[in-house]
């Protein structure tokens, strides 16, 4: 995905956003929330731009095998 989202995701420090959803518009972080639907409701209004909602599992409960 040679696009804005994938470039932003490559740089995203996921540890910093553990347990949150990050809303990206054209690769820029516009909001974060623990509630994915809250992020979606705001970003769903954005037209003609690249939208991504990246949810990062919590550091506490993520499975280690």
């Amino acid at each position: 995905m040679g696009d804005k989202t994938s470039k932003a995701f490559a740089k995203l420090d996921t540890k910093k956003y553990a347990g949150k959803c990050v809303g990206l518009v054209d690769g820029k972080i516009t909001l974060t929330s623990k509630n994915p639907d809250e992020v979606f409701k705001k970003l769903n209004k954005v037209k003609n731009k690249e939208i991504a909602i990246i949810c990062v599992p919590s550091t506490k409960n993520i499975l280690a095998i």
Binding site: M1, F9, K15, K34, I51, A52, I53, I54, P57, L63
Partner: protein, 150 residues
């Protein structure tokens, strides 16, 4: 003999997490990539799981965001038992982009709600995706390479 010299891969970096167990805390790196899904092409993150046959996500909220309705489900549900997700899930063919490559993938939609504390938004399994890419995991480099093979 594999020869990737004439192929241009899509490259993703592994993403890190801190895992706390009862006795220790360590940083782990996993092949988590971004994909675009559905007609609206919303970007989501997805764990690449070579041990999973199927691609899996959650109806609530992601399927709902994409406008997928339970009436759209194809056939009977499967009971999934995986390390990263489990429970009943219904298949629905859904468009999924990796880079500029589009695939119509049977995504198995779990009906249990997504838990941000413990779930990945999507788990990409072998069916369709692994048929269309030769995927190379470079653990030391913390990168995963998707070589298109069509």
């Amino acid at each position: 003999m594999l020869d990737f010299s004439n192929k241009k891969p899509i490259i993703f970096s592994y993403k890190s997490s801190v895992v706390k167990t009862r006795l220790s805390k360590e940083t782990i790196w996993r092949p988590v990539i971004t994909v675009k899904v559905g007609k609206s092409k919303i970007g989501l993150s997805a764990l690449i799981d070579t041990g999973s046959d199927k691609t899996i996500s959650f109806m609530k909220p992601f399927g709902n965001w994409l406008g997928i309705d339970t009436d759209d489900f194809e056939g009977e549900p499967d009971e999934l038992n995986g390390l990263f997700s489990s429970g009943p899930a219904w298949p629905k063919h859904t468009d999924l982009w990796i880079g500029d490559y589009r695939f119509n993938v049977p995504i198995f939609w779990l009906t249990k709600p997504f838990d941000i504390e413990s779930d990945y938004q999507m788990v990409i399994g072998r069916k369709v995706i692994f048929d269309n890419f030769d995927i190379v995991f470079r653990q030391k480099e913390k990168k995963v390479y998707f070589y298109p093979n069509r």
